[in-house]
Every structure is written in structure tokens, then in C-alpha cells.
Symmetry: C3
């Protein structure tokens, strides 16, 4: 498996878990199938669309590569049909969401650096990529945005995006370093969930 | 009348009817003249601004061609002054809104295809162009977004944008085919309103 | 001091006062440090990010120049720590906010004209730059957006952006004319606050 295949798989995994989180929130609000798919789509792809607009990668990947929209739509539809069973999987969804946060932080920061955005901007863009979809999901479902609640969520993404920028500046942004950054976000978020 | 004149007229008609729908919602919330014009502007031009940003048509048409902003502002101001009379025209506004949905679906999908966005992306962009303004209107006036309610709205736009992409792939995207796609959206939406 | 240094200082002053207004609103909602910094960031930089996206200045200045994000973050953090003292400074914050409205109206309209946006579009972009951050702040903190309340806010910005476009067309867009336009917005807003 090449590096770019690995990155694509990481990205699509992030899309799927965020689509599941958005769809679950929409099911809880008793939306119909289309509403569930729409919120899942926003949660999965909103952060990446914002990222691509600010780094001038247009059309955004969400529209340029059909696998992104398809992954989001299929996952959200599956959640709609399966949600009685998923209710028991709430912990699993939170863990997957934490994994998505780590994956999107790393890929978002990397893409901003590749587009020659300076360090501070790349850190902010990486964090916004990771939290943007959840923000859209919460605005649509009229919830207080998770990034504004008293929880470690965006701060975990911020720590990860700073680590990616530092690794990149030091020449250590290989598979090992990037995996470590994604794991840092993942573990920080899990610890915050456990303490709650 | 040339094709591009016909498209411009269709587009400005869509702007006017969506401005009227946004202004009506703002009047119902007892906003002042500026608030009514602002919500009308967002409802009329929000979807097109989003579309132009993702297909890299900058500055967006809403800012590049003064007739768009002027149409939205004049229509919203007229609704503000005339709304006691318009209250009796609620059905007319819903019918015009359905017509706007059809027009924006067709022009949004066509512009995305012209910008070389692949088929799935063009379908999604066409749908978002049509529903984006209404989404902004509902977020500003603190209503549950119409696309998330249990009604056929976005699905009608989706059917129309899929039809435009298919017609285009088959070489039938002439005036007749495009009119048929706009009518499909219009009729689907009217049937949904009648069943309510 | 050169003109561009003066403009940068004016811009960063606007960023600081809007960050303070966003952070104050977030403190009032009892958000934690990160939530306060996030809302301050959106209030300070949201309008400018939107402006840069529609005039194709990418990456937006908020990400391309670290001084913008740093000014917003430092100001919001200071508000978080100092807010008991700031409570007595509410009037000062409103006055600074009016100053920020004037500064952003002028710089936003100028940048749109520089990007060759036509007159009507530049007027609208200048106004949206000035009010965009406050709109984001109000959506995040679930307040009725200030632009939709029965107050002179966006109309003051609109008067200023029209004045900048007229001055520019007549060849009087020098330091004196632009300062007068910023003062126009500032005074209109102060008069509206006093009448309340």
C-alpha cells in the first residue's frame, strides 16, 4: 500500500465516522431519511470543504471525488436504518469520532502546509478542518456546539496540528510521526471523555 | 431572445422569488426594513455565492453583476411595504418558491458541469445551490431548516440535478430538456405541498 | 509611518476590538477559555475570511499573516482573565466595537475595489466584512444577530462603504477621505447607541 493510498483510506475513514456521528445526532432529533443524510454529509464533509476553499483547492475534494460524497451518504443511510442497534454502540461511536478528529487534524494540517500556508495559519486550518463538520452538525440540529462546551475537543485537535507543523519543520513528517500526531489527538480526546 | 438572455431572466426570477420568501419570513419575525432586506438577500443569493465559491467563479455573480443584488433588495423592500396585502398571497409565494427551486437547481447544476466538476459533485452542488439560500434564511430566523423537515424539498432538487447531469451526458441538455428538469422539480414540490 | 503600515495598524485594531466583543459575549455565556478564544477568533476574523474568499485572496489574510490570529487570540485570552474588571468597561467595549465597524467597512470596501469588484458588489462586500464577524459571534452564542435587531448597525456600515466607493470613483480615496468614511460609520453607530 502506497502512502497516498494510506492517506486516502485514512481520510475516507474519517468521513465515515463523522457521517455516523452527524447521522446519529439527526436520528436523535427524529429527522427523516433525507435530513439524516444531509446532516451526515455536513458533519463528514463540511470541515474539508472549508479547508479546500481557504487553500484554493477548488472544486473541493468533497465535490471533485465521488467517493467522498458516496461514503458519507452510504454511512448516514446505514445509521438511519440500523439506529436501534446502534443505540447500544454509543461508546463505539464516540471512540470512532475521536479517531476521526485525529485523522482530519493530520490530513488538514498537511494539506494546508502543502498549499504553502505559513505555520500559524496551517495550525488553525488543521484544527478547523477537524472541528468544522461537528460545528455544522451542531448548528443544524440546534445543539450548543461541542467546541464551545467545557470539554477537551478542539484543544486536542490544536495539539495535534501544532505537532504536525513542528514535525514538518524538523523534517520528521513521515508515516511514523504523522501516526503519532493522530494518536496524540485520539488519546487526549479519549482521556477527556473518560474523565467526564 | 438568446439562450443566455433566457438563462439570465430565469436566474433573476429565481432571485426575486427567493428574496420574497426570505423577506416574508423576516416580516413574520417582526424585523425592521434592514433586517428584512438582509434576510431576503441571504435567501436569494446565499446558494449562488456558495456555488460560485466552490466552482472558483470569483467574485461570485452576486457581487460581480449589480442586477442580482438590486433584484434581491428591491423585491425584499417591496415585500416589507406590501406585506399586509401579501399575507393573502401565501399560496402564490409557495408556488413561486417551488419555481425558484426548479430554476436554481438547473442553473446551479449546469454551472458546475461547465466548471468541469464531475457528475456526482455537480449533482450535489446543483442541489445545494437551490436549497442553500433557504438554509441561510432559516438559520438567521431561528427556524428548523426546511431541508430538515419531513417534507419533499431537497429531494425534489436532487431529482432535478440528477436529470440535468444525465441529459448533459446524453447530449440532450438543450432548452427543452432543461425546462423539463426545472418542471420536474416544480411539480414534485407542488405535489408535496398539496399532500401536506 | 507609511500608508500600508497605517492600514495594517487600523486592521489589527479592528481585529482586537472585535475579538474583545466576541470574547465578552462568550464570557457572558460562561464558556471556558477555549470557547472564549474561539468565539473571539470568529468575531475578529470571520468577516475578513469571507471577504478574502469572495475576492479570491487565498489563503485569507487571517491564515496567511500570523499577526491576525495572534492578535485575536491574545485579546480574547486577556478578556477571559480580566473580565471582572471589564464588566465596568461595557461602554468602552461598545465604543471600540463602533470603531472596529468603521475600520473594517473601509478596509473591506477598499480591498474589494482593488480586486476589481464592481461598485455595487464592493459596497455589499465592505458591509459584509464589517458585520460578518458579529453575525458569526451571534450565531455561535445563540443570540439574535445584531444586524437583524432594530438598531442602526449594518446601515452605518452600508453608508460608509457607499462613501468609500464614491470617494474612489471621484479620485478622493486618500487618507483624509477614508478617515472621514470610517468616522461616518463610527459616529452613526454611536448616535444609534445613545438614542437606544
Amino acid at each position: 500500500m502506497t502512502t497516498s493510498t494510506a492517506l486516502l483510506l485514512a481520510d475516507l475513514t474519517g468521513v465515515a465516522v463523522f457521517a455516523a456521528s452527524g447521522a446519529s445526532a439527526a436520528v436523535a432529533k427524529r429527522l427523516d431519511l433525507f435530513g439524516v443524510v444531509f446532516v451526515g454529509f455536513v458533519a463528514a464533509l463540511g470541515g474539508g470543504i472549508f479547508r479546500d476553499l481557504v487553500i484554493d483547492e477548488v472544486p473541493p475534494l468533497a465535490f471533485a471525488d465521488w467517493r467522498y460524497a458516496a461514503t458519507a451518504a452510504v454511512t448516514a443511510t446505514a445509521v438511519f436504518w440500523l439506529h436501534p442497534q446502534l443505540a447500544r454502540l454509543r461508546t463505539t461511536v464516540l471512540v470512532l469520532d475521536a479517531a476521526g478528529l485525529g485523522l482530519f487534524t493530520v490530513t488538514g494540517t498537511l494539506k494546508a502546509l502543502d498549499a504553502r500556508v505559513p505555520a500559524v495559519g496551517a495550525v488553525v486550518i488543521g484544527m478547523l478542518t477537524a472541528i468544522g463538520g461537528g460545528l455544522g452538525r451542531d448548528l443544524l440540529t440546534a445543539e450548543i456546539p461541542v467546541v464551545l462546551r467545557r470539554e477537551i475537543y478542539a484543544v486536542a485537535a490544536l495539539a495535534g496540528s501544532i505537532m504536525v507543523v513542528l514535525l514538518s519543520a524538523l523534517g520528521y513528517a513521515g508515516a511514523g510521526g504523522l501516526t503519532a500526531a493522530a494518536l496524540l489527538v485520539f488519546v487526549l480526546r479519549l482521556v477527556a471523555l473518560r474523565r467526564r
